[in-house]
Amino acid sequence: MSFPRITFWRVVLGAFLVAGFCATVLRFARGLGAATHLSNAFPWGLWVGFDVLCGVMLAAGGFTLTATVYIFHLDKFRPIIRPTVLTAFMGYVLVIVALFYDLGRGWFIWHAIIMWNPRSVMFEVAWCVMLYTTVLTLEFAPILFERLRLEKLLRIQHAIVIPLVILGVLLSTLHQSSLGSLYLIMPNKLHPLWYTAWLPVLFFLSAICVGLAMTIFESSLSSRHFGKQLELSLLRSLGRVLLVTLLFYAVLRFLDLYHRGALKLLAMRSYETNMFLLEVALALVLPIALLMIPRVRESAGGLYLCAVLVILGFITNRLNVTITGMEASAGVHYFPKWSEIAVTGSIVGIGFAVFGLAVKYLPIFPASGERSATPVPAASQAAPRLSHARP
């Protein structure tokens, strides 16, 4: 086995992994206090805000695309199913890894299975994580079965794929929205630019936007680094849907701010308004404006840029809800400690690395020439003919 070539990103990954290892030792040998800048005044920080909330959001492509292909039968998107399901599956696994860092007593995480409190949003979150990770495992399984030539298991998976996808979409709907619902109970703590009864709906809608953006992002990245990519026409379709979804979200967000009388807060210059404007510029204004320009919307580079903006914008949104918007009521300023950043960076790095390995060794992208031997359901075979058959 040859030694991997040294590249800039591999050096960055290596540095993060070394720092992440030190941070892990610190976290589990000396506790949360030594490894984080969390305090009694600020109990949730980067690990909740990024690793959990953003992690789940970035995994949203899974349910968006499986619904598109399996439920709505838009079969032209079938080639993107695998990379998005892979991302979603990895996203959830990494969220669970992050939970073990953040939970004070993570080894009792299974308590949620037997010690119920259905009044708690966190209880809903816990069950969604458990059930949807199971669903994602089953959705991801065929990729492994195929590689290992387990034909019988493949057939069983195909028999249950529709109920599985429906369950996945329902669980995702609940899970994405419930992360917003977590904050419904603290109207006097979360800043009014972000606190709204519509938080669950906004979280759900933005998850769909990010799901679409992640699909474009991954495809572009894969084409650069692995020479495996999706047809530009597919990315263009995704770009158009992304534009519509972003517009819908933007209108809803604006109306919510307007009806709550929160728009006037923007007249005041403050840390919160600046962060709000940054979020809105990245997530909504810039990508919507760019996607409106046909030349941008039709080009691979333009779509990639818009996808990156949307992803960064909604990451800012989640961090604004969890950190920026909570600072004023807490009376403290929170900035993560090096060890928090190291763990988060390692987790993101591992995500990229595993994705790269999976693309390399598993049938993720439809490689030209070596079409997968998956038994495709009859309906999907029919679809490509649809356009020819119609008189």
Binding site: I71, D102, F123, I162, L174, S177
Partner: protein, 259 residues
């Protein structure tokens, strides 16, 4: 028969014997340096603050419908019928949602430990269950902290305000806040001066969550029906299209058989 604590800041003399009594009952260290700390923490569950000659106590409000108990995913926080809100460490997974969600930011955490607990005043649950009063009320030499039936204490608080309107602001803190609490406060200056949130509605906080959680069955049933229905229609359409293509286009039929 729900019990409560009435703290009257105008009778308080800032002797901090309640702090000491609390530390003793909870097995916490207490010395001059801890006495000087003006913040609730994992080793100090109650604090008497001073601003000039005005004093105010901080302790867990032991809400009637506690936010912490409603948000805890594993039910580690419980409201007892007698009044105290208790914490059961053997259930806790350490998510700290109780700390984030508490409208009074009462629960504290053992950040320095590798097997940390949430720490807070539990209104001396063991003593109250045994028919005793809380350690802080027991230690108070002036009656500023008084333990009793919640209804009786409310009546008494109202009498005190009515009897000395100049001495009190006309507000029993905890009577209405977040649906009422088992700790009631009287003061001559606004409670916000001592960090008590002044913008709390009388709506119990768990109702805010309930409005969202109540939709879960809708999402599961209607959502499931909707998705299943859409799948049935699109699938049927594909099947029909396939059948039509086969009957009207013998060439494609032949191709399909070969494939």
């Amino acid at each position: 028969m729900s019990k409560a604590i009435l703290y009257d800041a105008t009778i308080c003399i800032h002797c901090k014997l309640c702090e000491q009594g609390c530390a003793q009952r909870n097995g916490l260290p207490y010395d001059d340096s801890i006495a000087a700390e003006e913040k609730q923490s994992e080793h100090k569950f109650t604090v008497v603050m001073a601003q000039g000659d005005k004093y105010m106590r901080h302790l867990c409000m032991n809400c009637l419908d506690p936010t912490c108990a409603s948000v805890c995913p594993v039910g580690a926080m419980q409201k007892t019928a007698e009044g105290p809100v208790t914490y059961n460490v053997s259930r806790c997974i350490g998510c700290r949602y109780c700390m984030v969600a508490c409208p009074f930011s009462v629960p504290k955490y053992e950040w320095g430990k590798t097997n940390p607990r949430v720490r807070k005043c539990d209104m001396c649950a063991d003593r109250v269950m045994a028919g005793q009063q809380t350690a802080c009320a027991d230690a108070c030499p002036t009656g500023a902290t008084k333990f009793g039936e919640r209804d009786a204490l409310i009546a008494e608080a109202k009498d005190r305000i009515a009897g000395n309107p100049g001495q009190y602001i006309n507000h029993i803190y905890g009577l209405e806040e977040v649906g009422g609490t088992s700790v009631l406060l009287l003061s001559s200056v606004p409670f916000a001066n001592f960090g008590y949130p002044s913008d709390l509605s009388s709506e119990p906080r768990p109702l805010l969550t309930h409005q969202a959680l109540a939709h879960i069955p809708d999402v599961l049933t209607l959502g499931g029906l909707l998705l299943g229905g859409i799948w049935w229609i699109t699938n049927r359409r594909s099947e029909v299209a396939l059948a039509e293509a086969e009957t009207s286009d013998p060439e494609s039929r032949g191709k399909r058989r070969e494939g």
